[in-house]
């Protein structure tokens, strides 16, 4: 397991912000992108009305060429789960294509206000 970006504090005004690229260690097969949500314990994170479109691009040739990889869209505020608990992070995960020179970069497109959160990119 490797944390390519480990709970990096981010403060993104409406607009877009790029992250990376970062190198994916060889042999790891699954990637997960996480954004910390607003909860009772983190009231300053990801306010209601703020929406994020988190896109990622991957390269299998060391960054020479890129294609779209996984991503998600979501809105802020406290999200209550079925069991009454709060969702701590919005995340997306998928298998990675194999390769020996892989890289990933991200773009967060923010609308409706400033996104305050923590970004994590994990591969296993």
């Amino acid at each position: 397991m490797a944390l390519l970006i480990d709970h990096q504090s981010i403060n993104v005004p409406a607009g877009s912000r790029d992250f990376g690229p970062v190198t994916i260690p060889d042999g790891l097969a699954q990637v997960t992108l996480r954004l910390a949500r607003q909860t009772t314990a983190t009231p300053t994170f990801w306010a209601p009305g703020v929406t994020v479109d988190l896109k990622s691009w991957g390269s299998l040739d060391g960054g020479a060429t890129w294609q779209q990889w996984l991503g998600f869209g979501a809105s802020g505020g406290i999200l209550i789960k079925r069991d009454g608990s709060e969702t701590v992070e919005s995340w997306v995960s998928c298998p990675l294509p194999p390769g020996a020179a892989r890289k990933i970069r991200l773009t967060a497109i923010v609308t409706g206000g400033t996104l305050v959160s923590q970004l994590t990119v994990e591969v296993v």
């Binding site: 949500r37 479109d53 896109k55 991957g58 294609q67 779209q68 990889w69 996984l70 991503g71 998600f72 869209g73 979501a74 809105s75 999200l79 789960k81 079925r82 969702t87 992070e89 919005s90 995340w91 997306v92 995960s93 998928c94 298998p95 990675l96 294509p97």
Partner: protein, 228 residues
């Protein structure tokens, strides 16, 4: 018989849209099929599923879309003759959803005019019956594909001949499954077994095979036919 070409899967939590990483589609008489399962919202799923959104904009047709009336949703979507190459797939949900799972599969050798049969759906809002659907219009050379979203963390395709395409444990006790089976095997029953299965939503449909048109008659026979 339709032949599997390629596939990819994705899972997520706390999202209103999710993107499946690009994977290569190739071959002839192609079909893209995407199953989606979500939980959380009580509203209908009503997703849009678009390959290469903003580029090719290949917008899938909905085969089924149902909720169990409580937390669980299942939908299936297909696109005929997707462009060859590698493109991501954007799945847009009607509202913020909790546990989300999706499986995209590409196929070759599929009938292009009428690629799928009549969808079958089912759901449970309690009890312990396994998710089970019977696709009665599946022919011998059809491939039946299903998608299930289950309140269970350990499910397995149950019917003989049923091949798991995806078995995605998204969170504690929430799983999205997709499987395929050759038509007329096991009575065209698609079934998943698990520990509790107290809630689920599922759909299934037959993918129809491309059939080569009959060759033209040889010249002599054609001449005889013209002479009556």
């Amino acid at each position: 018989m339709a032949t599997p070409d390629n596939k990819n899967t994705v899972t997520g939590i706390g999202l209103s849209s999710i993107t499946i990483l690009a994977f290569t589609v190739s071959g002839t008489n192609r079909l893209l099929f995407v199953t989606v399962g979500t939980s959380y919202s009580t509203v209908a799923l009503t997703t849009s599923v678009v390959r290469d959104s903003g580029g090719l904009n290949e917008s899938c047709t909905e085969a089924w879309d149902l909720t169990n009336g409580r937390w669980f949703h299942s939908s299936g979507h297909y696109f005929v003759a997707p462009t060859t190459g590698s493109y991501a797939i954007l799945i847009t949900l009607a509202a913020m959803q909790d546990e989300i799972g999706a499986c995209a599969t590409s196929w070759t050798g599929v009938e292009q005019a009428t690629p799928v049969g009549t969808p079958v759906t089912g759901s449970s809002n309690g009890g312990s019956a396994d998710p089970t659907l019977t696709v009665s219009d599946a022919g011998d050379d059809d491939v039946v594909i299903d998608g299930v979203h289950v309140y269970d963390s350990t499910i397995a395709a149950e019917s003989p001949g049923q091949t798991e395409q995806a078995n995605l444990v998204i969170a504690a006790a929430i799983t999205h499954g997709c499987s395929t089976q050759l038509g007329n095997v096991a009575g065209d029953v698609m079934s998943w077994t698990g520990g509790s299965n107290t809630q689920w939503a599922a759909g299934a449909v037959a993918i129809k095979p491309w059939v080569a048109p009959p060759p033209p008659p040889p010249p002599a026979m054609a001449a005889q036919q013209r002479m009556g």
